[in-house]
Amino acid sequence: MKALLISLVLLISISSYADNKYTLDVPKKASYDENFLLPSGFFNINYNLGWGAGNFNDFISTISYRGFSIDSRWFISDRIAVGGQLGWNGFYEKYDKKTYEFDGGAATGIIKTTFYNFTMTLDAYYYPMPEAMIKPFIGVHVGPEYQTISVQFGRVYIEDDSWQFLVAPEAGVFVQLGADSDVGLNLAVKYNYMSFKNTDLGFENGLSYWQGVMGLSFMF
Protein backbone atom coordinates (compact mmCIF):
# COMPACT_ATOMS: atom_id res chain seq x y z
CA MET A 1 0.00 0.00 0.00
CA LYS A 2 2.82 2.33 0.91
CA ALA A 3 4.68 1.35 -2.21
CA LEU A 4 1.63 2.07 -4.35
CA LEU A 5 1.34 5.48 -2.79
CA ILE A 6 4.97 6.28 -3.57
CA SER A 7 4.55 5.14 -7.18
CA LEU A 8 1.50 7.31 -7.54
CA VAL A 9 3.29 10.38 -6.21
CA LEU A 10 6.18 9.69 -8.56
CA LEU A 11 3.83 9.35 -11.52
CA ILE A 12 2.16 12.65 -10.68
CA SER A 13 5.45 14.39 -10.30
CA ILE A 14 6.68 13.07 -13.69
CA SER A 15 3.49 14.12 -15.43
CA SER A 16 3.61 17.50 -13.78
CA TYR A 17 7.23 17.80 -14.94
CA ALA A 18 6.05 17.18 -18.48
CA ASP A 19 3.35 19.80 -18.22
CA ASN A 20 5.25 22.36 -16.29
CA LYS A 21 8.89 21.96 -17.20
CA TYR A 22 9.70 25.64 -16.87
CA THR A 23 9.52 25.49 -13.15
CA LEU A 24 11.62 22.38 -12.87
CA ASP A 25 14.17 22.93 -15.62
CA VAL A 26 16.27 25.42 -13.74
CA PRO A 27 19.56 23.71 -13.07
CA LYS A 28 21.16 24.41 -9.76
CA LYS A 29 24.64 24.26 -11.21
CA ALA A 30 25.69 25.09 -14.75
CA SER A 31 28.94 23.16 -14.62
CA TYR A 32 27.76 20.06 -16.45
CA ASP A 33 26.13 21.98 -19.31
CA GLU A 34 29.15 24.19 -19.70
CA ASN A 35 31.46 21.26 -20.27
CA PHE A 36 29.03 19.62 -22.59
CA LEU A 37 29.09 22.64 -24.89
CA LEU A 38 32.87 22.79 -25.14
CA PRO A 39 34.34 21.50 -28.38
CA SER A 40 36.40 18.35 -28.30
CA GLY A 41 38.77 19.86 -30.81
CA PHE A 42 39.40 21.92 -33.97
CA PHE A 43 40.50 21.17 -37.47
CA ASN A 44 41.99 24.17 -39.29
CA ILE A 45 42.98 24.90 -42.84
CA ASN A 46 45.09 28.03 -42.98
CA TYR A 47 46.48 30.47 -45.48
CA ASN A 48 49.66 32.07 -44.13
CA LEU A 49 51.31 35.33 -44.95
CA GLY A 50 55.00 35.35 -44.12
CA TRP A 51 57.61 37.99 -43.54
CA GLY A 52 61.18 37.74 -42.41
CA ALA A 53 62.66 38.62 -39.05
CA GLY A 54 66.28 39.53 -38.30
CA ASN A 55 68.81 38.08 -40.75
CA PHE A 56 66.05 36.58 -42.84
CA ASN A 57 64.86 40.09 -43.65
CA ASP A 58 68.24 40.83 -45.21
CA PHE A 59 67.97 37.69 -47.30
CA ILE A 60 64.36 38.10 -48.42
CA SER A 61 62.65 41.34 -47.53
CA THR A 62 59.41 40.80 -49.44
CA ILE A 63 56.22 39.39 -47.98
CA SER A 64 55.47 35.80 -48.81
CA TYR A 65 51.98 35.26 -50.16
CA ARG A 66 52.48 31.54 -50.46
CA GLY A 67 51.98 29.68 -47.24
CA PHE A 68 49.51 27.00 -46.25
CA SER A 69 49.01 24.80 -43.28
CA ILE A 70 46.55 22.33 -41.84
CA ASP A 71 46.30 21.43 -38.22
CA SER A 72 44.18 19.43 -35.87
CA ARG A 73 43.96 19.85 -32.12
CA TRP A 74 42.16 17.99 -29.38
CA PHE A 75 41.26 19.18 -25.90
CA ILE A 76 42.82 17.05 -23.23
CA SER A 77 41.33 19.20 -20.48
CA ASP A 78 39.04 22.24 -20.31
CA ARG A 79 41.71 24.64 -21.40
CA ILE A 80 44.56 22.64 -22.86
CA ALA A 81 44.64 21.22 -26.37
CA VAL A 82 47.31 19.24 -28.18
CA GLY A 83 47.68 18.45 -31.86
CA GLY A 84 49.77 18.36 -34.98
CA GLN A 85 50.36 20.65 -37.93
CA LEU A 86 51.67 20.31 -41.49
CA GLY A 87 52.74 23.45 -43.28
CA TRP A 88 54.37 24.69 -46.47
CA ASN A 89 55.83 28.13 -47.09
CA GLY A 90 57.47 29.78 -50.06
CA PHE A 91 59.49 33.01 -49.91
CA TYR A 92 61.01 34.66 -52.96
CA GLU A 93 62.74 37.89 -53.82
CA LYS A 94 64.21 39.25 -57.03
CA TYR A 95 66.59 42.11 -56.46
CA ASP A 96 67.16 44.91 -58.94
CA LYS A 97 70.33 44.81 -60.99
CA LYS A 98 73.11 46.02 -58.75
CA THR A 99 76.90 46.14 -58.48
CA TYR A 100 78.42 44.33 -55.54
CA GLU A 101 81.99 45.27 -54.72
CA PHE A 102 84.39 42.87 -53.09
CA ASP A 103 88.08 42.93 -52.31
CA GLY A 104 89.83 43.03 -55.69
CA GLY A 105 86.79 43.36 -57.91
CA ALA A 106 83.09 43.78 -58.45
CA ALA A 107 80.14 41.88 -59.83
CA THR A 108 76.98 43.24 -61.42
CA GLY A 109 73.79 41.31 -61.86
CA ILE A 110 70.39 40.34 -60.60
CA ILE A 111 70.12 38.31 -57.42
CA LYS A 112 67.19 36.03 -56.77
CA THR A 113 66.73 34.42 -53.40
CA THR A 114 64.27 31.74 -52.36
CA PHE A 115 63.32 30.00 -49.17
CA TYR A 116 60.94 27.06 -49.06
CA ASN A 117 60.08 24.84 -46.20
CA PHE A 118 57.84 21.99 -45.21
CA THR A 119 57.04 21.84 -41.52
CA MET A 120 55.79 19.03 -39.33
CA THR A 121 55.11 20.02 -35.77
CA LEU A 122 53.53 18.80 -32.58
CA ASP A 123 51.55 21.53 -30.92
CA ALA A 124 50.20 22.48 -27.49
CA TYR A 125 47.66 25.24 -26.82
CA TYR A 126 46.15 26.98 -23.83
CA TYR A 127 42.64 28.43 -24.04
CA PRO A 128 41.99 30.84 -21.16
CA MET A 129 38.29 31.30 -22.14
CA PRO A 130 37.14 28.04 -23.73
CA GLU A 131 33.44 28.80 -23.20
CA ALA A 132 33.43 32.13 -25.07
CA MET A 133 32.35 32.48 -28.69
CA ILE A 134 35.65 34.18 -29.42
CA LYS A 135 38.21 31.87 -27.94
CA PRO A 136 41.69 33.31 -27.59
CA PHE A 137 44.62 30.92 -27.33
CA ILE A 138 48.37 30.78 -27.06
CA GLY A 139 50.34 27.85 -28.33
CA VAL A 140 53.72 26.49 -29.22
CA HIS A 141 54.76 24.28 -32.15
CA VAL A 142 57.87 22.12 -32.12
CA GLY A 143 59.17 19.71 -34.72
CA PRO A 144 61.30 19.15 -37.81
CA GLU A 145 61.16 21.17 -41.00
CA TYR A 146 62.78 20.54 -44.36
CA GLN A 147 64.06 23.70 -46.01
CA THR A 148 65.49 24.67 -49.36
CA ILE A 149 67.31 27.95 -49.48
CA SER A 150 68.82 29.26 -52.71
CA VAL A 151 70.63 32.19 -54.24
CA GLN A 152 70.87 32.80 -57.95
CA PHE A 153 73.30 35.40 -59.25
CA GLY A 154 73.64 35.55 -62.99
CA ARG A 155 74.08 31.93 -63.99
CA VAL A 156 75.55 31.02 -60.62
CA TYR A 157 73.14 29.04 -58.49
CA ILE A 158 73.73 28.00 -54.90
CA GLU A 159 71.30 25.82 -53.00
CA ASP A 160 71.33 24.61 -49.43
CA ASP A 161 68.86 21.89 -48.41
CA SER A 162 68.59 20.73 -44.85
CA TRP A 163 66.45 19.46 -42.02
CA GLN A 164 66.16 21.87 -39.14
CA PHE A 165 64.42 21.99 -35.82
CA LEU A 166 61.54 24.44 -35.62
CA VAL A 167 60.09 26.17 -32.56
CA ALA A 168 57.11 28.44 -33.13
CA PRO A 169 55.13 30.23 -30.46
CA GLU A 170 51.72 31.42 -31.57
CA ALA A 171 48.91 33.60 -30.27
CA GLY A 172 45.48 33.71 -31.84
CA VAL A 173 41.72 33.55 -31.62
CA PHE A 174 38.99 31.25 -32.79
CA VAL A 175 35.97 33.29 -33.91
CA GLN A 176 32.81 31.21 -34.05
CA LEU A 177 30.60 32.10 -37.01
CA GLY A 178 27.23 32.13 -35.21
CA ALA A 179 26.13 30.56 -31.95
CA ASP A 180 24.96 27.31 -33.52
CA SER A 181 27.75 27.02 -36.03
CA ASP A 182 30.65 24.67 -35.63
CA VAL A 183 32.63 26.58 -38.22
CA GLY A 184 34.76 29.58 -37.37
CA LEU A 185 37.79 31.60 -38.28
CA ASN A 186 41.26 30.86 -37.01
CA LEU A 187 43.29 34.07 -36.77
CA ALA A 188 46.78 34.02 -35.32
CA VAL A 189 50.26 35.46 -35.37
CA LYS A 190 53.12 32.99 -35.28
CA TYR A 191 56.85 33.42 -34.87
CA ASN A 192 58.98 30.67 -36.41
CA TYR A 193 62.54 30.04 -35.34
CA MET A 194 64.90 27.51 -36.87
CA SER A 195 68.33 26.60 -35.59
CA PHE A 196 69.79 27.12 -39.08
CA LYS A 197 73.21 28.70 -39.38
CA ASN A 198 74.99 29.51 -42.64
CA THR A 199 77.31 32.49 -42.54
CA ASP A 200 77.82 32.41 -46.34
CA LEU A 201 74.14 33.14 -46.79
CA GLY A 202 74.11 35.63 -43.92
CA PHE A 203 72.44 33.56 -41.22
CA GLU A 204 74.44 33.97 -38.04
CA ASN A 205 71.94 33.21 -35.28
CA GLY A 206 69.30 30.98 -36.73
CA LEU A 207 66.60 31.81 -39.22
CA SER A 208 63.28 33.27 -38.25
CA TYR A 209 60.13 34.61 -39.84
CA TRP A 210 56.70 35.79 -38.82
CA GLN A 211 53.41 34.47 -40.07
CA GLY A 212 49.94 35.90 -40.17
CA VAL A 213 47.60 32.93 -40.02
CA MET A 214 44.10 33.14 -41.49
CA GLY A 215 42.11 29.98 -41.60
CA LEU A 216 38.82 28.21 -41.57
CA SER A 217 38.25 26.35 -38.36
CA PHE A 218 36.00 23.36 -37.98
CA MET A 219 34.93 22.54 -34.46
CA PHE A 220 34.29 18.92 -33.61
Binding site: F43, I45, Y47, R66, F68, I70, W88, G90, Y92, K94, K97, T99, E101, D103, G104, G105, A106, A107, T108, G109, I110, K112, T114, Y116, F118, Y146, T148, S150, Q152, F153, G154, R155, V156, Y157, E159, D161, L216, F218, F220
Partner: protein
Protein backbone atom coordinates in the same frame (compact mmCIF):
# COMPACT_ATOMS: atom_id res chain seq x y z
CA UNK B 1 29.51 10.20 -38.39
CA UNK B 2 29.30 10.43 -42.15
CA UNK B 3 28.88 14.16 -41.99
CA UNK B 4 31.99 14.68 -39.93
CA UNK B 5 34.25 12.74 -42.28
CA UNK B 6 33.16 14.70 -45.31
CA UNK B 7 33.63 17.90 -43.38
CA UNK B 8 37.20 16.99 -42.59
CA UNK B 9 37.93 15.75 -46.13
CA UNK B 10 36.69 18.89 -47.85
CA UNK B 11 39.45 21.15 -46.56
CA UNK B 12 42.03 18.54 -47.61
CA UNK B 13 40.75 18.61 -51.16
CA UNK B 14 40.75 22.39 -51.12
CA UNK B 15 44.31 22.45 -49.77
CA UNK B 16 45.55 19.96 -52.37
CA UNK B 17 44.15 22.17 -55.12
CA UNK B 18 45.74 25.29 -53.71
CA UNK B 19 49.16 23.75 -53.07
CA UNK B 20 49.53 22.21 -56.53
CA UNK B 21 48.80 25.56 -58.12
CA UNK B 22 51.09 27.68 -56.00
CA UNK B 23 54.49 26.83 -57.43
CA UNK B 24 54.62 29.96 -59.48
CA UNK B 25 56.53 30.05 -62.72
CA UNK B 26 57.14 33.73 -63.09
CA UNK B 27 58.36 35.31 -66.30
CA UNK B 28 62.10 34.88 -66.60
CA UNK B 29 64.07 37.29 -68.73
CA UNK B 30 67.43 36.71 -70.37
CA UNK B 31 68.79 39.74 -68.49
CA UNK B 32 68.11 37.96 -65.23
CA UNK B 33 71.09 35.73 -65.96
CA UNK B 34 73.44 38.44 -67.18
CA UNK B 35 76.46 39.02 -65.03
CA UNK B 36 79.46 41.29 -65.25
CA UNK B 37 82.42 40.33 -63.15
CA UNK B 38 85.68 42.26 -62.84
CA UNK B 39 88.93 41.57 -61.04
CA UNK B 40 91.97 43.80 -60.73
CA UNK B 41 95.41 44.00 -59.20
CA UNK B 42 94.71 46.16 -56.17
CA UNK B 43 98.40 47.08 -55.78
CA UNK B 44 98.82 48.31 -59.31
CA UNK B 45 98.80 52.01 -60.23
CA UNK B 46 96.83 52.22 -63.46
CA UNK B 47 97.91 55.82 -64.08
CA UNK B 48 101.31 54.47 -65.23
CA UNK B 49 99.59 53.11 -68.36
CA UNK B 50 98.99 55.54 -71.20
CA UNK B 51 98.69 53.53 -74.37
CA UNK B 52 96.87 50.35 -75.28
CA UNK B 53 96.68 47.87 -78.09
CA UNK B 54 93.63 45.66 -78.74
CA UNK B 55 94.09 42.42 -80.62
CA UNK B 56 92.67 42.59 -84.13
CA UNK B 57 89.69 40.32 -83.49
CA UNK B 58 87.94 38.49 -80.68
CA UNK B 59 89.30 35.03 -80.01
CA UNK B 60 86.71 32.30 -79.92
CA UNK B 61 86.36 29.14 -77.89
CA UNK B 62 83.25 27.16 -78.76
CA UNK B 63 81.97 23.62 -78.75
CA UNK B 64 79.41 24.15 -81.48
CA UNK B 65 81.00 26.72 -83.80
CA UNK B 66 83.75 25.43 -86.07
CA UNK B 67 86.15 27.72 -87.96
CA UNK B 68 84.68 28.50 -91.35
CA UNK B 69 81.07 27.51 -90.64
CA UNK B 70 78.11 29.88 -90.91
CA UNK B 71 78.21 30.98 -87.28
CA UNK B 72 81.94 31.56 -87.52
CA UNK B 73 81.63 33.63 -90.69
CA UNK B 74 78.89 35.72 -89.12
CA UNK B 75 80.95 36.30 -86.01
CA UNK B 76 83.97 37.51 -87.97
CA UNK B 77 82.04 39.39 -90.66
CA UNK B 78 83.29 42.96 -91.34
CA UNK B 79 80.45 44.39 -89.23
CA UNK B 80 79.97 41.28 -87.10
CA UNK B 81 80.14 40.75 -83.34
CA UNK B 82 83.92 40.44 -83.28
CA UNK B 83 84.34 43.88 -84.85
CA UNK B 84 81.61 45.48 -82.73
CA UNK B 85 83.07 44.12 -79.50
CA UNK B 86 86.59 45.24 -80.41
CA UNK B 87 85.37 48.73 -81.32
CA UNK B 88 83.38 49.10 -78.11
CA UNK B 89 86.30 48.01 -75.91
CA UNK B 90 88.62 50.45 -77.71
CA UNK B 91 86.02 53.22 -77.32
CA UNK B 92 85.80 52.57 -73.58
CA UNK B 93 89.58 52.71 -73.09
CA UNK B 94 89.78 55.95 -75.05
CA UNK B 95 86.90 57.40 -73.01
CA UNK B 96 88.88 56.95 -69.79
CA UNK B 97 92.01 58.60 -71.19
CA UNK B 98 94.08 55.90 -72.86
CA UNK B 99 95.55 56.30 -76.32
CA UNK B 100 95.05 53.50 -78.80
CA UNK B 101 98.00 52.24 -80.77
CA UNK B 102 96.45 50.89 -83.91
CA UNK B 103 98.90 48.74 -85.75
CA UNK B 104 101.51 47.44 -83.41
CA UNK B 105 101.92 46.03 -79.99
CA UNK B 106 105.47 47.41 -79.98
CA UNK B 107 104.92 50.62 -78.01
CA UNK B 108 101.73 49.83 -76.13
CA UNK B 109 101.78 49.91 -72.33
CA UNK B 110 98.80 47.57 -72.26
CA UNK B 111 97.80 44.67 -74.46
CA UNK B 112 94.06 44.00 -74.41
CA UNK B 113 92.98 40.45 -75.07
CA UNK B 114 89.42 39.53 -76.04
CA UNK B 115 88.10 35.98 -75.91
CA UNK B 116 84.51 34.85 -76.39
CA UNK B 117 83.50 31.46 -75.05
CA UNK B 118 80.32 30.16 -76.62
CA UNK B 119 79.02 26.91 -75.20
CA UNK B 120 75.94 24.89 -75.91
CA UNK B 121 74.43 23.15 -72.92
CA UNK B 122 72.11 20.25 -73.53
CA UNK B 123 70.58 17.69 -71.31
CA UNK B 124 67.65 15.67 -70.21
CA UNK B 125 65.98 16.28 -66.90
CA UNK B 126 64.14 13.43 -65.29
CA UNK B 127 61.55 14.73 -62.93
CA UNK B 128 61.85 13.20 -59.52
CA UNK B 129 58.98 11.37 -57.92
CA UNK B 130 55.98 12.87 -56.27
CA UNK B 131 57.60 14.19 -53.12
CA UNK B 132 60.87 14.76 -54.92
CA UNK B 133 59.12 17.71 -56.49
CA UNK B 134 59.79 19.76 -53.44
CA UNK B 135 59.66 23.50 -53.92
CA UNK B 136 62.74 25.29 -55.04
CA UNK B 137 63.79 23.49 -58.13
CA UNK B 138 61.61 25.50 -60.45
CA UNK B 139 63.71 28.58 -59.95
CA UNK B 140 66.96 27.20 -61.34
CA UNK B 141 65.50 27.14 -64.83
CA UNK B 142 66.76 29.05 -67.80
CA UNK B 143 64.59 30.53 -70.49
CA UNK B 144 64.16 28.26 -73.45
CA UNK B 145 63.72 25.36 -71.12
CA UNK B 146 60.99 23.03 -72.24
CA UNK B 147 59.86 22.08 -68.80
CA UNK B 148 58.52 23.68 -65.71
CA UNK B 149 56.42 22.56 -62.83
CA UNK B 150 53.29 20.71 -63.76
CA UNK B 151 52.83 18.31 -60.90
CA UNK B 152 51.40 14.85 -61.23
CA UNK B 153 52.16 12.21 -63.80
CA UNK B 154 53.61 12.78 -67.26
CA UNK B 155 52.43 10.07 -69.63
CA UNK B 156 53.71 11.85 -72.74
CA UNK B 157 57.40 11.95 -71.99
CA UNK B 158 57.90 9.47 -69.22
CA UNK B 159 58.83 12.08 -66.65
CA UNK B 160 61.78 13.50 -68.59
CA UNK B 161 62.22 16.58 -70.68
CA UNK B 162 64.92 17.83 -73.01
CA UNK B 163 66.52 21.22 -72.63
CA UNK B 164 69.06 23.21 -74.54
CA UNK B 165 70.54 26.66 -74.16
CA UNK B 166 73.69 28.46 -75.20
CA UNK B 167 75.87 30.48 -72.93
CA UNK B 168 78.15 33.30 -73.91
CA UNK B 169 81.08 34.67 -72.02
CA UNK B 170 83.29 37.50 -73.14
CA UNK B 171 86.58 37.92 -71.38
CA UNK B 172 88.42 41.21 -71.61
CA UNK B 173 91.83 41.32 -70.03
CA UNK B 174 94.63 43.82 -69.69
CA UNK B 175 98.12 42.40 -69.86
CA UNK B 176 101.19 44.45 -69.19
CA UNK B 177 102.77 45.27 -72.59
CA UNK B 178 106.34 44.59 -71.45
CA UNK B 179 105.46 41.20 -69.98
CA UNK B 180 103.70 40.21 -73.19
CA UNK B 181 106.64 41.34 -75.34
CA UNK B 182 109.02 39.30 -73.17
CA UNK B 183 106.80 36.30 -73.60
CA UNK B 184 106.65 36.72 -77.37
CA UNK B 185 110.41 37.18 -77.48
CA UNK B 186 110.90 34.00 -75.44
CA UNK B 187 108.56 32.00 -77.66
CA UNK B 188 110.23 33.26 -80.83
CA UNK B 189 113.81 32.72 -79.70
CA UNK B 190 113.52 29.45 -77.80
CA UNK B 191 112.85 26.43 -80.02
CA UNK B 192 110.15 24.09 -78.78
CA UNK B 193 109.07 26.53 -76.11
CA UNK B 194 105.64 26.81 -74.57
CA UNK B 195 104.01 29.64 -72.55
CA UNK B 196 103.64 27.23 -69.64
CA UNK B 197 107.38 26.46 -69.42
CA UNK B 198 108.76 27.04 -65.90
CA UNK B 199 111.53 29.29 -67.31
CA UNK B 200 109.08 31.29 -69.46
CA UNK B 201 108.64 34.94 -68.43
CA UNK B 202 105.62 35.58 -66.25
CA UNK B 203 102.74 37.36 -67.90
CA UNK B 204 101.36 40.17 -65.84
CA UNK B 205 97.60 40.65 -65.87
CA UNK B 206 96.24 43.71 -64.10
CA UNK B 207 92.56 43.66 -65.00
CA UNK B 208 90.08 41.09 -66.14
CA UNK B 209 86.41 41.39 -66.98
CA UNK B 210 83.80 38.75 -67.75
CA UNK B 211 80.56 39.59 -69.49
CA UNK B 212 78.47 36.53 -68.99
CA UNK B 213 75.00 35.55 -70.10
CA UNK B 214 72.67 33.36 -72.05
CA UNK B 215 72.21 33.64 -75.78
CA UNK B 216 68.72 34.26 -77.08
CA UNK B 217 67.37 31.63 -79.40
CA UNK B 218 67.71 33.64 -82.58
CA UNK B 219 70.53 35.87 -81.36
CA UNK B 220 68.45 39.02 -81.83
CA UNK B 221 69.03 40.40 -78.38
CA UNK B 222 72.60 39.34 -77.71
CA UNK B 223 74.81 42.15 -79.05
CA UNK B 224 72.93 44.85 -77.18
CA UNK B 225 73.46 42.98 -73.91
CA UNK B 226 77.13 42.33 -74.65
CA UNK B 227 77.74 46.03 -75.40
CA UNK B 228 75.90 46.98 -72.19
CA UNK B 229 78.04 44.45 -70.34
CA UNK B 230 81.26 45.94 -71.74
CA UNK B 231 80.14 49.41 -70.63
CA UNK B 232 79.25 48.04 -67.21
CA UNK B 233 82.64 46.36 -66.80
CA UNK B 234 84.32 49.78 -67.22
CA UNK B 235 81.70 51.51 -65.06
CA UNK B 236 82.42 49.26 -62.13
CA UNK B 237 86.19 49.71 -62.58
CA UNK B 238 86.71 53.42 -61.89
CA UNK B 239 90.36 52.80 -60.85
CA UNK B 240 91.21 52.25 -64.53
CA UNK B 241 90.76 55.96 -65.27
CA UNK B 242 93.85 57.57 -66.62
Amino acid sequence: MRKRISKILLPFIALATIVTSCYKTETIYYEDYDMVLTYYDTKFDFSTYKTFYVRDSVGMISDYIKPGDNNWQQFYAPAGPSKEIRNEVARQFKAIGYTQIMDSLQDADVAVNLVATLVKVEGVVTYPGYWGGYPGYWDGYYPGWGGGWYGGYYPWYGGSTYYSYKTANLMIEMADGDSLRSMIHYLETTPGSDPSDPQAPKMRFVWQAFVNGLQTENGSYDMERIIDGIKQSFNQSQYLKN
